[in-house]
Symmetry: C2
């Protein structure tokens, strides 16, 4: 068998367009030699706040939460995200340790590339640099926008917002299995667990949602939108 024509697996990666769309065969082969695919089970920590940044990671399959732990041990969830977003957000170049932790909410597959390689690529390939910059900016903006959106809402509005976010952006389906606990929703929107549950119960009573176990069915999207808007 002629190994010279053997194409690198990265060339066929369906996620090549994340930021690597501009890479030619040479770079793709190099990338392939510097990357590693890692599997994480639900609940596992992918990056830990404070640890040195050694790899550039992005999500291939699964679902993760980005969060930080406050001084009193509570978690603040910054965002919940799907592929193909980067896991090592922002500080990739600006700092040398992770500002936030990342944990798998579902079994996930991460593509991990040595940070030095990404840095070299950034310097050598301006198109790649541009794409990477644009993507990281978009992610930062999404996070900031989401945080501001949530901040201006009341309890019911925030819960409605999260449900709509999960429905529209994460699962793209009216029916889905909630990937987070009630407490995690609370940590996400900055409210108490008891009140999140209470609000969900209210939504059930009003026929806006229906739940069976972990499965949730959004019955009245319009009403939820209204609650989210004037929250």
């Amino acid at each position: 068998m002629d190994t010279r024509i053997k194409t690198c697996i990265c060339a066929d990666c369906e996620f090549r367009d994340v930021a690597f769309s501009s890479l030619n065969d040479h770079y793709i082969r190099e990338l392939c030699n510097n990357k590693e695919e890692l599997r994480y089970s639900k609940g596992e920590i992918i990056n830990h706040q404070g640890d040195p940044i050694t790899h550039f990671k992005y999500l291939k399959h699964g679902l993760v939460k980005l969060f930080r732990t406050t001084d009193d041990g509570e978690q603040q969830i910054i965002t919940i995200t799907r592929p193909f977003e980067f896991v090592s957000t922002m500080s990739v170049f600006s700092g040398d340790s992770y500002k936030y932790s990342v944990a798998a909410l579902e079994d996930s597959v991460i593509c991990s590339v040595k940070i030095g390689f990404i840095r070299d690529l950034f310097m050598k390939n301006s198109e790649f640099a541009f794409n990477l910059f644009a993507r990281v900016s978009k992610i930062s903006e999404k996070i900031i926008g989401q945080t501001l959106d949530i901040r201006q809402k009341n309890l019911a509005g925030r819960v409605a917002f999260v449900l709509l976010y999960l429905m529209k952006d994460i699962f793209k389906s009216r029916v889905f299995d909630i990937p987070v606990s009630r407490k995690e929703i609370a940590d996400y929107i900055g409210m108490s667990t008891a009140n999140v549950i209470r609000t969900l119960s209210d939504f059930k009573r009003d026929g806006i949602i229906r739940t069976t176990g972990k499965t949730i069915d959004i019955l009245d999207i319009d009403k939820l939108e209204i609650i989210s808007k004037r929250g």
Copy 2:
């Protein structure tokens, strides 16, 4: 006089190190031809949310607030910042319109460079690209961190946090003129104006601060730190 040795004014600019430290004389001259210095009086809008991004702007002198206007006409202040931070944060490359507005809190001087020039520079000069990326990331991170910090605090903690931020990061002095109205503080920390005022009154009563007109004097930094921490 020999104009050939006349150095471009940008070469001497004290803010050259913002992101342009890596530029050689050739680029600096080019930059000089593509930049414009703009003056804004207190209260003036520098960038307006929704407007197309045509220039890359950064703050040379003065003080600005980054904010957005919500559907119901209220302002949400995202951050208050000094030179030499960029004014056209993040979306510089990732979008084509400003996500947020920027207004001058004091008379300010902005250095404005055509966005196309910055984009070219980014593609041609990898060191510049790297510096720019690192800076923009830092700013995004600062904003996200600040927002999360504020979110976990109560009213008194938030007011204390703002006072300490103004003292330490903005004015670097125990005594300063508050550059924002009470309402703007409220819009910054997401609380009502009346309660911000009430809290400031409490601080005065407890001998933590002293005010005369717009001037504020932080008397007990330690106590303020404690209030901010366990807020």
